[in-house]
Amino acid sequence: MINYALRRVLSALPIMLIAITVCFVILRLAPGGPFDGERPLPPTVLQNVMAHYNLDKPLWEQYWIYLSGVLRGDLGPSMTSYDFSVSQLLAIGMPFTLMLGMTAFVFATAAGMLAGAVAAVYQNKWPDYLLVLAVMIGLIIPNFLMAALLQLAFGVHLKWLPAGGWPGFSIPHLILPVLVLSWPHAARISRLMRGSMIETLGTNYVRTARAKGLGSRLVLARHALKPALIPVVSYLGPGLSYLLTGSLVVENVFGLPGIGRYFVNAALNRDYGLVLGTTIFYVVLILILNLIVDLVYAWLDPKVRYR
């Protein structure tokens, strides 16, 4: 298993290099540049600015400058944020994004699994129908609408919770963003959980366990739960990366200081440094998450063998 993990880490390096290269090339192929805006710069100024960011050098040389910078741990300058380097911006925003994403992840996973298991046990009874309703709401309403609705309801009209902002760590300010972010995720998990739980409850070994006279709670906990978790776990890795990269809308609506916004805005602004930096960050994150999922998978399912 350690060997396996080691091999996975090593194989991640070429993946990183490919991701950086592809991203670098695509960015340069896209029309427009970081300094084309509503108010284009006069040619002399543009020349000065391009020279400042090495953008006047041949492309391969820029690529080499960037890559050697990354190897030294320097993600270069941002072209839309002059007072912070890309590394500084990511370092400031990352803790918040991770905290928001992880909180939503834990909340969504717990709520989704519990709801799915309950719905499976009470299949086609009212708890099941209630769950279907909640799932539908979570899946159908897009997050920007959900965010705006909750903000209006709880922030503007009821005034129970702040409508946004991040004055420093504060649980009330976290409730609505986490709810918006985790709802669709919880909905998907609960559906997976419900389906696989129903399937597991119908298997022969569960029937055998029941026939032996074991109590239904014991059957659920000892025999049904673990195998039912397998499809859920395989979803958790992509699910978590979805939560971590998908915080853009929530950050926008609630005005939160995460890095989700950089991912989209930097691409629109052609902020080459910041797009590459964010991409590298997410690539690393997703590689790590996938590795963890694979390891958990091995632990859960004895049928999966690693050499």
């Binding site: 896209a30 029309p31 427009g32 540049g33 970081p34 084309d36 805006g37 509503e38 108010r39 284009p40 710069l41 006069p42 040619p43 002399t44 100024v45 020349q47 000065n48 600015v49 020279a51 400042h52 839309t80 944020s81 002059y82 007072d83 912070f84 911006l89 400031i92 925003g93 965010a147 705006a148 903000q151 209006l152 922030g155 503007v156 005034k159 702040p162 409508a163 946004g164 902002g165 991040w166 950050e251 926008n252 609506v253 609630f254 005005g255 939160l256 200081p257 995460g258 916004r261 805005n265 629109l268 602004n269 052609r270």
Partner: protein
Amino acid sequence: MQFRTVIKGGLLAGLMALAMSGSALAVTLHSFNGGEPASLDPHRVSGDWENRIVGDYIEGLMTEDAHAEPIPGQASSYTVSDDGLVYTFTIRDDAVWSDGTPVTAQDFDFAFKRLFDPETAADYAYLQYPIKNAEAANAGDVPLDEVGIRVIDDKTIEFTLEAPAPYFLDALTHYTAYPVPRHVVEQHGSEWIRPENIVGNGAYQIVEWIPNSHIRAVKSETYYDAENVQIDEVVYYSMDDISAALARYRAGEFDILTDFPADQYQLLQDQYPGQAHVAPFLGLYYYVVNHNKEELADPNVRQALSMSINREIIGPDILGTGELPAYGWVPPGTANYDFDEYRPDWADLEYGERVAQAISLMEEAGYSASNRLNLQLKYNTNENHRRIAVAIAAMWEPLYVDVELFNSEVAVHYDALQNNDFDGVGRAGWLMDYNDAINMLELLRSDIGYNYGRYNNAEYDELLRESALITDMDARAEVLRQAEEIAMGETAGIPIYYYVSKNVVSPAISGYEDNAKDIHRTRWLSKSE
């Protein structure tokens, strides 16, 4: 373990109580400020959202009053030579940086040279090109020492201009003319702007910057007018989603919104009467006509296109915020330009009559139902631009014009405009950098990059050149007006509407004056709890 939790909880509660008592004493202004500032360095910024912050913590020789008119700031007085070429400023004795160091003429000299230094790569350096040799120095052609700025003594500085520029005092209120604290910049380099190093000479002092969230500034006790500054603390929030910002205003979290979604204007008027401020703003929304496209080289075709646009419905009906219909190139309220806004004769015709005349112009040019004009209409992706483009395409339909709508994101769009790569008409907008007609009219000068449509009229160019040499303000205005009439007479571009500024101001705020530059320095505001 439990004991520790109790201690932690107690500490937290204590801190919170402290924080709350602190905020109860101080008057804090919560301002929704729009985008995330690219920088707080006056030589690196380019947006009005940055201007609002930078102009609160640094002040130039001239500054804006509550109506955004230029008044002396760090200068106590100034003189202008008779030929309008030499400006001499005396700096206030009580002008000091927030670390106590006096503000000197050398700080200004240092700042201007830094602005023009090609190494600084300042986006907006060109705004100070009226200063002698500034443009050449910025291009690296002459040494920085030859720029027309002379330090006479610690508190006296003299500017020599290339040509008389009546808007120079106004240009000095701009952030490109702000001083920077030489002693701090020399010590920390580009890091001088970080909250732990930053020093300013304005009414406020930056204390915290959380990217993508907010910037916090507190009242500076060293500011010469500190006793009249009412608001103790300002928080400038950066958020891209203006609908969400409005929700937070309604939840009482913001005192000022520097923008609001046009489709919420009615709601604001109904539920928050008097709080939405819509005021004329120095800027023009226009369509660039590509003069290099053969069909559009005919001035009659251009005029027909312009005539058939029903501008009166765009502000109230399409945008919903009552933007003013534009027939001329220079917005109303422009300084040193005391004319009614330009209106061609046909502007006063009834709309149906205008369309009929436009159709006959097109027919004279050889177009008919079977021989139609194909035009591309390019705009940058935005809901309002799209709605206007769709409406105008429909208005052009009766003129035998087939419009292909083509949208792209902003960087791509302006790249295409700059390279004259559009087969017909392109959307553009211009917000004036300083309050003078020349700033608008230069957009149509043949040798300037912003002249996307490549309008080229030697007489027009000559009039602009001539205007730069005239010291008599009225005579200068006449010449500029003549230029505007020439360009609009042959439809050099198609003006559509004059911008308006859109702000929402809580009734708790007083001292907020609507003005054409949409600049509202916090030092003039006060807030009642």
